[in-house]
């Protein structure tokens, strides 16, 4: 067993630029939400107090991060104009620098940086996308567009000040790279993970997999997000936003959540290494458990069974009885229905005979979505150091329906002492639950005597036991392989304006709901259905331990029209500044097209954000392992394969459905992507690909034929053939390219090295043996 130690931490939250300031905030009882008079994100522009008004938010209270005092080195970089562009990138770098201050990194160390992050949580990405969508949209109404996109960009600059001249630098994989540039070794594996609000604690899952398989020596986990006006509106439209200026978790007076901006980074290494390096151990991760809700509730509704499963798995992984847990730092974002579900999960997972403290920091911090799990982990580390569990604020009593009196769960309203003792470990649990039912729970303690993770080899082979593809024209698996062998496509690059809805019976979803989902969510399920058709439901023996890992890069196609519609009045106001007579007719026609966009009554945020691509599949196939979307640029699906292989090696999973998908081929996406896609020689193509992976012994035991074997890394002596991930035969499937590269290797046969498109990406490749 190996103990995993936290040796560094950094935070950025309104009013707290360091961990010490975060502790002061917790002790003070202040809320970052109460002082939200400043509105840098511009929420006021989309506010209407009437909840019935479409495309507006009925609240405008949030926690803007506008008072950050950057780490001295970042301050110096800022002074000479060397700081990275983009707010979340800047905050991550600030946090990473703080974590590095106490973390020894040796020259030979293999480092990783796993970041919980979503493209829709960046105000820079959102505004850059909006500006390009409008520039391309107006340009499309003029035959010789010429000057028009530039005129439009200039006119929008005042309304969307966070857009910046180079949109691609705000995409998730670039955010991680730029946050770490010059701070971590060039060979660092950088990966962004999106499971919605649980994403940054899922980064800790990735870290533990990497450390326990010996894939990395030091892992930095991060999470960051902005509050973006469009997303605030989407959350408001489904009634999740508080009705007032308070967020009250588990409280009878709670009405909804309020979002905040923030970031956090922690540094993890094995305890042996921490001790050898002389690093102070801030806490020990004794266990970690993940789960998906699977079938049961709809995608936006949390499920206590799934949450309790993650808690139980975490306790099992730590070898800790529920009764030994002193304190659970819950997720509870303040939405009454969701808080009640979480309390039910705690009731189910907790010990019925021993007192356990339960608190939530969101009444003070606000809900920092992608960053929230790590901010909670830092909160626990600070409580260990200061020997105090801070009180829960803005709390009076739980609703009667919780039946709290029948439990031993106690919500302290004054700070509770938590003294270090020689004979008894102090143990806390951290909940982090994401939209779509992506759950994770970590057990944190002050001593390596509790828990730990089995060391497993990360270099063994993993079997491909099935695959499926979903492409326009519905080619069979044989036809897909044939086209891959010839490296020429006979299927159209895209599905066109309107995606053909799958059979509702197969989908298990009413057409009125399906039509409001971004096509990627449906496409991935279709590729899994093809897999099932060709190879059977290979996951059937292990639905509880099957995970879903999806490579996706860019912005979902359905996101654009909705964000444009929400912003149309602001856009119209800004474009009134385009006085150029030749541009006026195109501007006019574009604005008319925006006015014609109407919200479908069944549209929800669950159809729009990329993280739902993976969780939607867990619902359809009733899978209860972890589910995540991975963005590593064009190499996203390869990143997904690496994370999946490690989760199989550690035996956290018995099967992984690993895919890649792209469903957006629009010009507005092309305009924000990096260099390879500016060339018209590369078509953006739409498709979804899924590989079913298992350990070879599991495959043999269940009689699953092994179609190919995968192994991480590459050895130059490992055979001559190579396939490079990325655009081929004139097309790129973006997030799907990595899965396609592996399928190409399978189609080629023999032994083939699949190399990442980006030579800087680590790990450097995957060996495919047929």
């Amino acid at each position: 067993m190996t103990a995993v130690a936290v040796v560094g931490m950094g935070v950025a939250l309104p009013g707290a630029s360091t961990p010490d300031e975060l502790w002061d905030l917790l002790r003070s009882g202040r809320s970052v939400l109460s002082a939200a008079d400043a509105d840098p994100a511009g929420l006021a522009g989309l506010h209407d107090p009437d909840p019935a008004v479409a495309d507006r938010s009925y609240n405008r209270v949030y926690g803007p991060l506008s008072d950050l005092r950057p780490h001295p080195r970042l301050r110096a970089e800022t002074d000479v104009g060397d700081a990275p562009p983009g707010l979340t990138t800047y905050w991550l770098r600030h946090c990473l620098l703080q974590a590095l201050d106490t973390t020894t990194v040796a020259d030979r160390d293999r480092c990783a940086f796993a970041i919980g992050y979503g493209v829709s949580g960046s105000i820079n990405a959102e505004q850059a996308f909006l500006v390009e969508a409008v520039a391309q949209g107006v340009g499309a109404y003029d035959a010789d567009a010429g000057q028009i996109p530039d005129l439009v960009r200039r006119a929008l600059a005042g309304t969307y000040p966070f857009a910046g001249p180079e949109p691609h630098v705000f995409l998730p994989h670039e955010v991680g790279r730029r946050a770490a540039a010059g701070l971590l070794p060039p060979q660092t594996e950088i990966v962004t993970i999106d499971t919605a609000c649980s994403a940054s604690l899922y980064a800790v899952q990735a870290a533990i997999s990497a450390l326990s398989t010996g894939t990395a020596d030091v892992v930095f986990c991060g999470g960051a997000c902005n509050v973006t006006p469009s997303e605030y509106v989407m959350l408001s439209q489904v009634g999740l936003v508080s009705a007032n200026d308070q967020l009250r978790s588990f409280d009878v007076a709670g009405t909804g959540s309020l979002w905040s901006e923030g970031a956090a980074v922690v540094a993890l290494k094995t305890l042996d290494r921490a001790v050898a390096d002389g690093d102070e151990v801030l806490g020990v991760i004794a266990g970690l458990g993940t789960s998906s809700d699977g079938r049961g509730r709809e995608v936006l509704a949390p499920d206590s069974r799934g949450q309790a499963l993650a808690i139980r798995r975490s306790l099992e992984s730590a070898g800790v009885a529920a009764g030994s847990v002193d304190w659970i730092l819950a997720h509870a974002i303040g939405v009454p229905a969701g808080d009640a579900v979480e309390f039910a999960a705690l009731r189910e997972a907790a010990d019925s005979a021993t007192d356990c403290l339960v608190t939530v920091n969101k009444p003070q911090f606000g809900h920092t979505s992608w960053a929230s799990g790590l901010l909670s982990l830092v909160h626990v580390l600070l409580a260990l150091r200061n020997e105090t569990v801070p009180a829960q604020r803005r709390f009076t009593r739980t609703p009667e329906s919780y039946r709290q009196e029948a439990t031993r769960l106690r919500i302290p309203v004054t700070d509770a002492p938590w003294p270090r003792t020689a004979d008894r470990p102090r143990i806390a649990g951290v909940n982090s639950f994401g939209f779509g039912g992506t759950n994770v729970h970590a057990v944190v303690t002050d001593t390596p005597r509790v828990g730990g993770f089995a060391r497993r080899s990360g270099t063994g082979e993993i079997a491909v036991v099935g695959w499926g593809a979903h492409l326009p024209g519905a080619p069979t698996a044989t036809e897909v392989l044939d086209q891959l062998r010839r490296a020429e496509w006979h299927v159209p690059p895209g599905f066109g304006e309107s995606y053909p809805l799958p059979d509702p019976v197969q989908l298990r979803m009413p057409p009125i709901a399906a039509r409001n989902l971004d096509r990627t969510q449906l496409m991935l399920i279709q590729s899994m259905l093809q897999l099932a058709g060709e190879h059977g439901e290979v996951w059937a023996p292990f639905t509880d331990t099957t995970g879903v890992f999806v490579g996706h890069h860019g912005v979902p196609g359905a996101f654009g029209p909705v964000v444009l519609r929400i912003n149309r009045d602001l856009i119209a106001g800004a474009l009134a500044g385009v006085t150029d007579a030749t541009a006026a007719p195109a501007v006019d026609r574009f604005l008319k097209s925006l006015q014609a966009l109407a919200a479908d009554p069944d549209e929800t945020v669950g159809g729009l954000l990329p993280n739902f691509i993976a969780s939607r599949a867990t619902k359809r196939f009733d899978l209860r392992g972890m589910a995540m979307v991975v963005d590593q640029g064009i190499d996203s699906a390869l990143g997904a394969v690496h994370l999946a292989m490690r989760a199989l090696h550690t035996r956290e999973l018995d099967m992984a459905l690993v895919g890649g998908v792209n469903g957006n081929s629009g010009p507005e996406l092309r305009a924000i992507l990096g260099a390879p896609f500016r060339s018209p020689a590369v078509d953006l193509a739409e498709g979804a690909f899924t590989l079913a992976l298992a350990r070879p012994d599991t495959a043999a035991e269940h009689g699953l034929p092994i179609l190919a074997r995968l192994r991480a890394g590459q050895d130059p002596h490992d055979g001559p053939a190579t396939v490079r991930c990325g655009p081929s035969a004139g097309r790129s499937y973006l997030g799907g390219d990595g899965a396609l590269a592996i399928l190409s290797a399978v189609a080629t046969g023999g032994t083939v090295r699949v190399e990442p498109y980006d030579p800087a990406i680590q790990p450097a490749g995957i060996l495919v043996r047929v």
Binding site: R295, G296, R297, E298, L300, P504, V505, P510, I512, A513
Partner: protein, 83 residues
């Protein structure tokens, strides 16, 4: 009106609102877990059912299948009839 009649009318209401083929809407299919009907939609549909049968509002709890809704509708009809 017997239960089969009520079920037939419920299937029509649900099929039209959701655009599901009628044969999917079996009496015992779990509306949320198996048919992907979210709670907002279910509330809206129960309102429609209430209006259609001119009855008191069916409670949102315990009606996770069409069969159970039909039972609730018949119980409501009996209560109204006995007044």
């Amino acid at each position: 009106m017997d239960k089969a009649d009520v079920l037939a009318e419920l299937r029509t209401i649900y099929a039209e609102a959701l655009e599901y083929p009628k044969e999917v809407l079996t009496p015992d299919a779990h509306l949320e877990a198996e048919l992907g009907i979210d709670s907002l939609k279910q509330t809206e549909l129960l309102n429609r059912v209430t209006e259609h049968f001119g009855m008191e509002r069916v409670p949102d709890d315990g009606v996770e299948t069409l069969d159970r809704i039909a039972t609730a509708v018949l119980a409501s009809a009996r209560r109204t009839g006995s007044k």
